[in-house]
Amino acid sequence: MIPAARAILRKDLTIEFRTKEAVPAMTLFTVTVYVLFHFGLDRDSLDGELASGVLWVTLLLAAVIGVTRLFAAEREQGGIDALLLAPVDRTALFLAKATALFLYLLALELVAVPTFGLLLLGPDLLSAFPELLVILLLADIGLAAVGALVSALAAETRARELIVPLLLLPLLVPLLIGAASATEPLLRGAQTPEDLGRFLALLAGYDAVFVLVSLAVFDFLLED
């Protein structure tokens, strides 16, 4: 299972490196949304709740793009049949797709978070580390698990560009609550972030439930 997952992951990453499709699009999208928020809110710098909300909503919307594109190469080039014919567990496919999405999100945040600090954030971004790093990692695990599940669910539908955001965004509400509430005191420049543990626990619980649920049900998707 692990070698198969690694092979699929390597294939996905190679395609992404050559076509440069998902990650650059997601990055460009986040910067555009920052500009939209600047004009929409008519604010030059944000802090606290507003900053954390803008950052997380932007990241989640960018994740929608990544999720929509997750099975795109297989669908457009017909590689999905070969993958399904291969005598490997669907779990390997899930692990590979979720890991690919996780890495895309990390690559996105590597650019999107510093850009946010540069363009919109009032307080110094560096003071939010290393707590912000933990929040980002926990959120990315949940996003990757739910994203891989949703993209597989939508892969066989007629209106998949429509289904992905409709399905993904409500599912991400608990994740947004945890991530945004945990980030808020960090972006206010608070010395001792209150309630951080509680929201990290929420994120970890969300991750655990959705990784397990996705692993359990993925076998029933994409099987023909």
């Binding site: 669910l153 066989e156 539908t157 007629r158 209106a159 409500p170 608990p174 945890g178």
Partner: protein, 227 residues
């Protein structure tokens, strides 16, 4: 045509619903600070409880479908979620009316149960476009079941998360629906829950019968055309 025991069930439902309404209007005392409008509680809260249980039950039926491969369980899961969405619409409307009467606003964001319910409702609304944009019936059943399971697991997490987010700013001293109801109000409330559950089961059976009948009709039509 109806499944066995449907008629007695329907009769019991009618009687229980009538008793429940009689209790609501003639037995339960008027609420001290909200007055008559508080009566909507006896419709709103049972509807919400039954709808949420329906969502989770739909997930459990979906698990049975995936485990046994028996597609009738998918049909049951679909009808359960369908009925819960209908009740859910009622919950949001009665909730808005109650909020307007009690707090003066059609919608209040600091009522975590209402907000969680909206999120769950929005998620389950996607069940229809997902289900009906898959043509192959076997695949449709499988994908819908996967959705029902994931969404069923989502319901409790979402409630915990929204409550955490709210208690951050608004510590809740006393829960609206908590066990602190006086005796006669509690009795009325319990009868209302029973009535709503029976109504749900009755309508569920009716809808299931109609779905099966139309499926059979489709099959017969196909055979007629083939002949």
């Amino acid at each position: 045509m109806y499944s066995k025991g449907f008629r007695p069930l329907a009769a019991v439902t009618i009687v229980t619903t009538a008793v429940a309404f009689a209790l609501v209007f003639f037995y339960a005392p008027l609420d001290a600070d909200q007055g008559f409008v508080q009566k909507i509680f006896y419709v709103h809260v049972p509807m919400a409880i039954v709808a949420l249980c329906g969502f989770v039950a739909g997930g459990i039926m979906a698990i049975r479908h995936l485990r046994s491969g028996d597609r009738s369980w998918d049909m049951r899961s679909y009808v359960t979620i369908h009925m819960s969405i209908i009740l859910g619409t009622g919950v949001l409307i009665t909730g808005a009316i109650w909020a307007k009467a009690a707090w003066g606003h059609w919608w209040v964001w600091d009522e975590p149960v209402l907000v969680s319910f909206l999120v769950v409702f929005l998620l389950y609304c996607v069940y229809y476009p997902l289900r009906f944009s898959i043509e192959d019936p076997e695949r449709q059943a499988r994908y819908s079941s996967v959705f029902a399971i994931a969404a069923g697991a989502f319901v409790p997490i979402n409630f915990v998360a929204v409550r955490l987010a709210e208690s951050f700013t608004h510590p809740r001293v006393l829960s609206q629906t908590g066990g602190s109801l006086p005796g006669d109000m509690r009795l009325t409330f319990l009868v209302c829950i029973l009535a709503m559950t029976l109504l749900f089961v009755t309508l569920w059976k009716l809808e299931l019968t109609s779905k099966r009948a139309s499926m059979q009709l489709k099959k017969l039509r196909a055979r007629l055309e083939a002949a």
